[in-house]
């Protein structure tokens, strides 16, 4: 017999520690312990067997790894927490005695570390410890960015001080500047919650969520002390990440921050980037609009003169070019620098033409000048446009400082983003010159500046996500917008995708089916005059189809489909019977050659499928029982899904057909 082991001396009982034990061991208060755990990344754990670990019977005890807690004992922050605790004790003692002045002095001295010589503590060392490499930090940036962007948009309260909010905002702006400079923004999505952004930073995809402006309700059931703790850590982290990112592209960190611009809601324009090396340190790179922050009046006057001259030239000499063409065309022509490959001789090889779609997506908007109407979300639009290469963005003065121009009639504007409804023409006539609102002073409600493209904001998002400029007609003001799809959903094989034409996604069998059906319907129409009964049946089956559309459950639909098949067979039989009664030949309908060929093809396909299924069955026999079951399940789900996709595609086919019929 081996040595007897005592209970609770080894194994799980020693590996875990309850929260109370940990707090006692570290000599901290519970809130301080929570803070430390959040900063150091120590999470509650779950032992495999609670009974073996804790002597108490409470089911809700939280456990930690003993080794984690042991390691926390070495933490330099612990000393700071303890100092704070002693200070609290001193203050409360003084207050208890009635020495209010003493208490105030103690507190004052502690709050002025520069005078007492005790430095305030930072979380710098924790950042390195938790993220040993930079890539680790980037991988974990999702949460950090979401939190900071959220707090940057919160109203200041007693729980969330204004200082913290300002700091968050600044860090976020710095980060956005990096994304703009490095063109690393990839996708963005307008959801009902907020705006999602995805960027690619050094090969890592970072996804974060930014709330819409002025929307945050601060609710009571959130522990702001804990959120604040996270924010403190994340602020330190993002600051270091920003430093690294800025230095990686040769910029100085921290960039210059202009408080007065920020007070005037300049947002991105409040920060001006500087080169890192000493030679270029002096010159500030104005990222905003090519405008310097401090303008020399003399230079400005000269520039104004020049611009005026240029504009006069443009207006006077080539007015037709300005007014006559669409902005889009203008752009195309102006930048049509690519050579066209033309066949040397007639009938020669036709070469693939170089196209702009293959261009660098990060320079998508680089040739345009945008103007944002006052009802559009400026912050997000500005960020996205700049990140995709746009240099000149103007907006209504209501939207804040830092725009390229606040003048809506600026002739250099190529695109205007509007999001207001089109006013009815009748109203326009009635009112005529009743100018009571602000816009009508400048321009009539429905009037447009010629030579400019008007689009709704969604155009920007859809263009960015598809990495090509979408056709602006679809997004014209007042037009019914196409659905805004999520760019984060990865399409799977054979799945229905509304953005791709039907021909590219349907399977061979489906296409054949569709053609045969079409041919049959044509035949029906011809034969319709002959027998009314058939027509009635057709109507009935149509109704069934509609029912099917209304149905939602996949399984139900499947059943119905099966029923449909049955019905089809029944129909066939009915026809035969009728033919017998009326004494006609069974196949009254003339099948043309094409349909026949299709039918043959279909038969061949079915045969092939059958063979494949048999092969599969045989192969399945080789598998173990467990694996076979799993395989069957997989097949089952796949079939279910593909059935749904087939249904969707058939629906689309129907719609397309209707559209074609309408057009014809």
């Amino acid at each position: 017999m081996g040595k007897l082991k005592k209970k609770g001396q080894a194994g799980q009982a020693k590996n875990y520690m309850t929260r109370t034990q940990a707090v006692k061991k570290l000599q901290l208060s519970l809130p301080d312990f929570r803070k430390l755990c959040i900063w150091k990344g120590i999470y509650p754990r779950e032992p495999r067997n609670r009974k073996k670990v804790s002597k108490s019977s409470t089911a809700s005890t939280t456990f930690y790894y003993t080794k984690d807690i042991q390691y926390l004992l070495h933490e330099p922050l612990l000393q700071k927490f303890r100092e704070q605790k002693t200070l609290e004790k001193k203050i409360s003692r003084a207050l208890g005695r009635g020495d209010v002045g003493d208490a105030a002095r103690l507190e004052r001295n502690a709050a002025r570390p520069d005078q007492t010589g005790k430095p305030r503590y930072t979380l710098n060392h924790v950042v390195r410890e938790r993220y040993p490499t930079f890539i680790d930090a980037v991988r974990d940036l999702d949460d950090c960015l979401s939190m900071l962007f959220l707090f940057a948009n919160l109203p200041s309260t007693s729980a969330v001080p204004a200082k913290m909010i300002a700091r968050c905002e600044r860090l976020c702006l710095e980060f956005q500047h990096y994304l703009i400079k490095s063109h690393s923004l990839r996708k963005s999505f307008l959801s009902i919650k907020g705006i999602y952004y995805q960027a690619n930073i050094q090969g890592e995809d970072v996804l974060w969520l930014v709330p819409y402006k002025f929307n945050q309700r601060v609710v009571g059931d959130i522990d702001f002390r804990i959120m604040g703790t996270f924010i403190e850590f994340y602020m330190t982290l993002l600051s270091f990440v920003n430093y690294r990112l800025y230095t990686s592209i040769g910029l100085k960190y921290p960039p210059k921050f202009d408080q007065t611009m920020d007070d005037q809601a300049a947002e991105l324009a409040a920060i001006s980037l500087e080169g890192a090396n000493l030679a270029t340190a002096g010159e500030t790179k104005a990222i905003t609009n090519g405008e310097e922050q401090k303008i020399d009046p003399k230079v400005q006057a000269q520039v104004n003169k020049l611009v005026k001259q240029l504009r006069n030239e443009a207006n006077g000499e080539k007015p037709d070019e300005q007014m006559g063409e669409d902005g889009e065309d203008d752009e195309e022509k102006a930048t049509d620098a690519l050579d066209k490959f033309e066949p040397v001789a007639p009938g020669g090889d036709v070469l693939l033409q170089p196209s702009y779609s293959g261009n660098d997506p990060s320079q998508l908007f680089s040739k345009f000048t945008f103007f944002l109407s006052r009802e559009t979300p400026r912050q997000s639009l500005e960020f996205i446009l700049r990140a995709f290469g746009c240099k000149r963005i103007g907006w209504d003065p209501i939207l804040g400082e830092g725009s390229f121009t606040t003048d809506e009639s600026d002739p250099s504007i190529t695109h205007q983003i509007v999001d207001r409804p089109v006013v009815q023409a009748a109203m326009d006539e009635e009112e005529g010159d009743g100018e009571d609102n602000q816009t009508s002073r400048k321009l009539g409600p429905n009037q447009r500046y010629p030579g400019r493209i008007y689009v709704q904001p969604q155009w920007v998002w859809d263009s960015v996500n598809d990495e090509e400029l979408k056709s602006p007609e679809l997004y014209a003001p007042g037009a019914a917008l196409p659905p805004h799809l999520s760019p984060f959903v990865k399409p799977t094989q054979g799945q229905y995708d509304p953005t791709i034409p039907l021909e590219e996604q349907q399977t061979e069998g489906e296409a054949l089916d569709a053609e045969i059906e079409e041919a049959m319907e044509d035949g029906d129409e011809e034969a319709g005059e002959e027998s009314e009964v058939e027509n009635d049946m057709d109507v009935a089956s149509d109704n069934d189809d509609e029912d099917e559309e209304e149905g939602s459950d996949g399984a139900e639909d499947e059943e119905e489909e099966e029923e449909d098949e049955d019905e089809d067979e029944a129909l066939e039989r009915q026809r035969e019977l009728e033919a017998e009664i009326s004494g006609k030949a069974v196949k009254s309908k003339q099948l043309d050659a094409k349909t026949k060929a299709n039918l043959d093809k279909k038969k061949a396909l079915e045969k092939k499928k059958k063979e494949e299924a048999e092969d599969l069955e045989r192969a399945k026999g080789m598998l173990s029982k467990k694996k076979r079951k799993l395989f069957e399940q997989m097949q089952y789900t796949n079939n279910k899904k593909s059935a749904e996709d087939v249904k969707l595609r058939s629906k689309r086919r129907k719609l397309d057909k209707e559209k074609a019929a309408k057009k014809a």
């Binding site: 779950e46 609290e88 209010v100 959130i222 604040g228 920003n242 799993l630």
Partner: protein, 440 residues
């Protein structure tokens, strides 16, 4: 005078202290005659007032001027009495050469003084009520953040410079060892999702969450959410029903108890009748003793037949039961197979659908004492669906969302706000003393 002289220190010959004795009343401050000193100081003061400085300190060029030529024009210009002026005017016009002390009020903290007048003592100890409240809070542990968040000025991830290799010979003191990080420190937190896979910090949004969604995606989502809502409502109603039934049963039992009590009261009255001699006799109920007798043959046969019949019935019942059980077993087997299939299906679906856990289906056992907060319903209803960004009414609360995400990812345990501290229960009693009663 000596030619060589040290640069510092006293060069005179050593001598006794010139100070007279400090002992005795003569040495007291009030007995020391300082008139000479005060006189000198007064004189200095008058000099300063008259000329703006001490005469002795001034260079002679300032004090004296060489007036070589007489100004002859003045006498001619003015008559003698006017040029001389009145004595009263002269007195009034006399001004001190020292500029006047400005009458501007100085801030309290300014402690500049001329050294003559004492500084007005400030009430430094005064603490405003607001400050006091804050102090009390600080003493209670609710202080502002003590973390200094400053702009990063260096790269944390840069490789540290290699420490200079020290010569081991000279270094007797062993190097301080850094604590080793435990492996457990880098373990991922427990994900609270049902499938145990890590939940992403920001889930990738599905198409149904779009502000201008595709119809099919939106419909799918709407149906899913509405089914959930219906389920929840059904559950709620069922609970209500349960409650109601419980309450009714309680009421009924209470009523029954009351009735029983009332009956008991009544029976007391009935008992009284015994006293009146109306009691029914108990002797009539007594059973007569059975006499032993031999069974006849027909009786035996009857008994035998009955027993046979009973056995048969019993056997039939048993057989029936067995058949039913067999049937049931078959059913159960089918059910189990179906269930297994479903489970496997679910597993497969989960496996191939997402490698990430979702924050909707959570596991049963959660961290901490409190339940996780429910996820907000983030859905725009069909009648509120707009295709314009301007008209969009954002749904959900991001603050709550972030908070819940932290909890669901197992970064910490759920907490609940406790708005009031638990108060000690007070029991109110009336106090009776002998003084409250009076005897008459």
């Amino acid at each position: 005078m000596p030619v060589l002289r040290s640069k510092s220190g006293n060069t005179d010959a050593p001598s006794q202290y010139k100070q007279p004795s400090r002992k005795g009343k003569k040495a007291w401050r009030k007995n020391v005659d300082v008139t000479e000193i005060t006189k000198g100081l007064d004189e200095l003061n008058t000099q300063i007032i008259a000329t703006g400085g001490v005469l002795a300190d001034k260079p002679s060029t300032e004090l004296f001027a060489l007036d070589v030529k007489p100004d002859t024009t003045i006498a001619k210009k003015f008559p003698k009495h006017i040029s001389k002026g009145l004595k009263a005017d002269e007195i009034i016009a006399a001004r001190s050469a020292v500029p006047a002390v400005s009458s501007r009020k100085r801030p309290a903290g300014d402690k500049t003084t001329d050294g003559v007048l004492p500084v007005k003592r400030q009430r430094k100890e005064y603490v405003t009520a607001k400050e006091l409240r804050r102090l009390k809070k600080v003493a209670d542990g609710q202080h502002d953040s003590t973390v200094a968040v400053v702009d990063a000025t260096y790269d944390v991830w840069a490789d540290p410079e290699p420490a200079p290799v020290e010569q081991e010979l000279e270094n007797f003191v062993p190097k301080k060892e850094q604590p080793k990080k435990p492996k457990t420190l880098h373990e991922a937190p427990i994900s609270l999702s049902a499938n145990g896979k890590p939940i992403p910090a920001v889930a990738k949004p599905k198409g149904g969450a779009s502000y201008n969604p595709d119809f099919t995606e939106y419909q799918e989502r709407l149906i899913e959410e509405s089914e959930k809502a219906v389920e929840a409502e059904k559950k709620r109603l069922a609970e209500l029903e349960q409650e109601r039934i419980k309450l009714e049963a309680a009421l009924r039992s209470a009523a029954e108890a009351e009735a029983a009590e009332a009956r008991a009261d009544l029976s007391e009255w009935e008992d009284d009748s015994a006293w009146e001699g109306l009691e029914s006799g108990g002797e009539e109920l007594s059973v007569k003793a059975k006499k032993p007798r031999r069974k006849t043959q027909p009786e035996r046969n009857r008994i035998k037949r009955r027993k046979e019949e009973e056995r048969r019935l019993k056997h039939e019942a048993a057989m029936k039961k067995k058949a039913a059980q067999e049937h049931r077993i078959k059913q159960i087997a089918l059910e189990v197979a179906e269930k297994e299939r479903q489970m496997a299906l679910q597993k497969v679906e989960l496996d191939d659908a997402d490698e990430e856990g979702d924050d909707e289906n959570l596991r049963r056992r959660q961290l901490g004492r409190y339940r996780l907060p429910e996820k907000d319903l983030e859905l725009v209803l069909p009648d509120e669906l707009q295709d314009s960004l301007r008209l969009l009414k954002p749904e959900g609360n991001l603050l709550k969302d972030r908070y819940r995400s932290m909890l669901v990812r197992g970064k910490m345990e759920a907490r609940r706000k406790i708005p009031y501290k638990k108060q000690a229960k007070t029991k109110i009693t009336e106090k009776w003393t002998y003084k409250d009663f009076t005897l008459e």
